[in-house]
């Protein structure tokens, strides 16, 4: 599988982008709306004009048309041909590439089986649900056996459950296919789940390229740090394995239980929006629940940030304004803090 290199690429908002994507890598590009993520994909696919250079497998493809770049592209809009059935949509790239009818039919059938859409073969795109359309579009982009796969927000505009299900399937599919994949999303948690490396884009510039781990624990700029939102990183003094899947860690007065898959634990990171604050004692077991004191309250966009001290540790919690208004919080007040178990991250030493 080929690698991809962008050298001094300029297009619209993207200015002087230099990027190397390794072969067989799942490279996730994250960023806010208008950051230039889709532009990056369009340039790699060759469907947008640009200056600078794009190299695929070391070969300059600036003058190579999109149809010969060997790229499969799942557009954010999907662009399923409305006048073709699911089957015809998937077969389009095969017949365009001159694949024999019998070979094309069997490839279409196997792709439909792989994407669990065989029962939709004769349906038109407008009769499909959002998730089904995404599967069809993905099957269509995979049909001509591209060497590079470009995915533009493949789980956007799906409900939470469908998005999660599709993401899980996509991850196993991408691992199985071992294709060089560029995956665009605005959801950092989605990026973390699937990426070999993550690039954060802002206003057409690449802010940081690193592994998911480095992204969360070593943000190189303030912008990355803000975007990641991982503002609570606390040192662990000791840890004890409880079961094969759970570990108990201690940091000052805090004793927490978190999911575990081996190794020693040095630091824990807790996203601010995974810390719940209550002015009354929450019901249930005392697991990952603490008592602290409100030190500072500040507005942050439509949210409110509350800094709470628990012993020597200071945690920053982020609440939606509506939830904050329902609490009678003020600086110096004692509060109950609940930390969401599944969102705790840790660094192995």
């Amino acid at each position: 599988m080929p690698d991809i290199e962008l050298v001094n690429m300029d297009r619209h908002i993207c200015r002087n982008v230099n990027l190397k994507i390794m072969d067989r890598e799942i490279f996730v590009v994250v960023g806010t709306t208008g950051a230039g993520k889709t532009t990056l994909l369009n340039v790699i696919a060759g469907v947008a004009d640009y200056s600078g250079s794009v190299l695929i497998d070391g070969v300059n493809v600036d003058r190579v048309s999109p149809r010969k770049r060997g790229v499969g592209y799942l557009f954010q809009s999907l662009a399923l041909f409305p006048h073709m059935t699911v089957e015809s949509n998937i077969a389009f790239g095969l017949s365009a590439g001159g694949t024999e009818k019998s070979a094309a039919d069997s490839r279409v059938t196997s792709l439909m089986e792989m994407m669990h859409i065989k029962h939709l073969a004769h349906r038109y795109p407008h009769t499909l649900s959002g998730g089904e359309k995404k599967r069809v579009a993905l099957a269509r982009s995979l049909a001509p056996s591209p060497q590079i796969l470009l995915l533009d927000e493949p789980t956007a505009s799906l409900d939470h459950q469908t998005a999660k299900y599709l993401r899980t399937e996509l991850v196993s599919l991408l691992k199985e296919l071992e294709m060089t994949t560029v995956y665009v999303t605005h959801d950092l948690r989605e990026a973390e789940e699937i990426a070999d490396r993550i690039a954060l884009m802002s206003h057409g510039r690449i802010e940081q390229v690193s592994t998911p781990h480095d992204f969360f624990f070593n943000p190189r700029t303030e912008f990355v740090s803000e975007f990641v939102g991982m503002l609570n990183i606390i040192e662990c003094t000791r840890s004890r394995v409880l079961t094969s899947g759970l570990v108990e860690v201690v940091s000052d007065e805090m004793t927490m239980v978190l999911p575990y898959d081996g190794g020693a634990i040095r630091k824990i990171a807790i996203p601010p929006d995974d810390i719940y604050i209550s002015d009354v004692k929450p019901p249930g077991p005392a697991l990952n629940r603490f008592t602290g004191k409100v030190e500072e309250i500040s507005r942050y966009g439509s949210n409110v940030r509350v800094r709470v001290s628990i012993g020597k540790n200071k945690l920053l919690a982020e609440l939606p304004s509506g939830a904050f208004d329902e609490l009678s919080l003020q600086e110096g007040k004692d509060v109950h803090v609940v930390i969401k178990l599944r969102r705790l991250r840790y660094v192995e030493s």
Partner: protein
């Protein structure tokens, strides 16, 4: 909608027609307008329709008109679609042809009649050419617009799937432009009959239009009405034929393109 309610809706739609025919019959039969010759009852028109059909006059004139419409409409539409596709597909050709089309399109088809009478003479080619002109320009316009309005995302998707320009044109762009093309065809299918009748009334000695003029000169209002009914039915029928073709070819997806 179930079968029963569909029948009910058809019956409800037929009611105004029945009332109209009944009122016509009453007004004609009881001579509510001065002189029965000027407003024959519906039954008299029907009787005249039978006589004209039986002695072959209506059939002969109708066939002449039908042949002219079919040849003129088909050739005008095919040429219009071809030019429209080329104009919509290639910006350079659009730039070259658009000023000419824009200048000629507003001229009413019948406006060409005096010129064509001088150039072609009074023969079969005259009404066919008029219908050709009548259908050509609107079809060009609608086709070019349809082709240009095809969402560029579909073209980009087809390109990344490895399709050649010709394949993109024939498999993606033209099919997606069909709703626009059919709009033009449907409108012109009825319009071609209206233009033909006018041309036959003015310049051609055969056809429904000519029969209409002969009936007028003999003060045969019943024959005039027969001709108008035939014209009305043919306009409607031609529009429906294209509507049917449109539904069959693109009805499954056209509202969602």
């Amino acid at each position: 909608m179930n079968k029963e309610s569909r029948h009910l809706q058809s019956a409800w739609g037929a009611l105004p027609v029945a009332v109209f025919i009944a009122a016509w019959e009453i007004v004609g039969r009881f001579d509510l307008f001065p002189g029965q010759f000027f407003f024959p009852p519906f039954s008299a028109v029907l009787k005249e329709f039978y006589y004209l059909t039986a002695d072959g006059v209506l059939g002969k004139n109708f066939t002449s008109s039908l042949v002219r419409v079919v040849i003129g409409l088909c050739s005008g539409s095919i040429a219009g679609i071809f030019v429209g596709v080329v104009m919509g597909w290639r910006r350079v050709i659009n730039g070259a042809l658009n000023p000419i089309i824009s200048l000629l399109y507003p001229i009413p088809a019948l406006g060409w009649l005096p010129l064509l009478m001088l150039w072609i003479g009074i023969n079969e080619m005259l009404p066919i050419t008029i219908i050709f002109i009548c259908s050509f320009f609107p079809v060009v316009y609608n086709t070019a617009t349809g082709i240009r309005n095809v969402d560029a995302r579909y073209v980009r998707a087809a390109e990344t799937l490895g399709a050649s320009n010709m394949r993109i044109l024939f498999k993606v762009i033209i099919p997606l432009a069909l709703p626009n093309i059919f709009t033009g065809l449907r409108l012109e299918a009825g319009m071609s009959w209206r233009v033909l009748i006018a041309a036959e009334m003015v310049a051609i000695p055969t056809g429904i239009g000519a029969l209409l003029m002969q009936a007028e000169s003999l003060v045969r209002v019943d024959i005039v009405m027969v001709c108008l009914i035939v014209l009305s039915i043919m306009c409607l029928l031609f529009e429906r034929i294209f509507a049917f073709m449109e539904k069959r070819m693109i009805g499954k997806w056209s509202n969602h393109a």
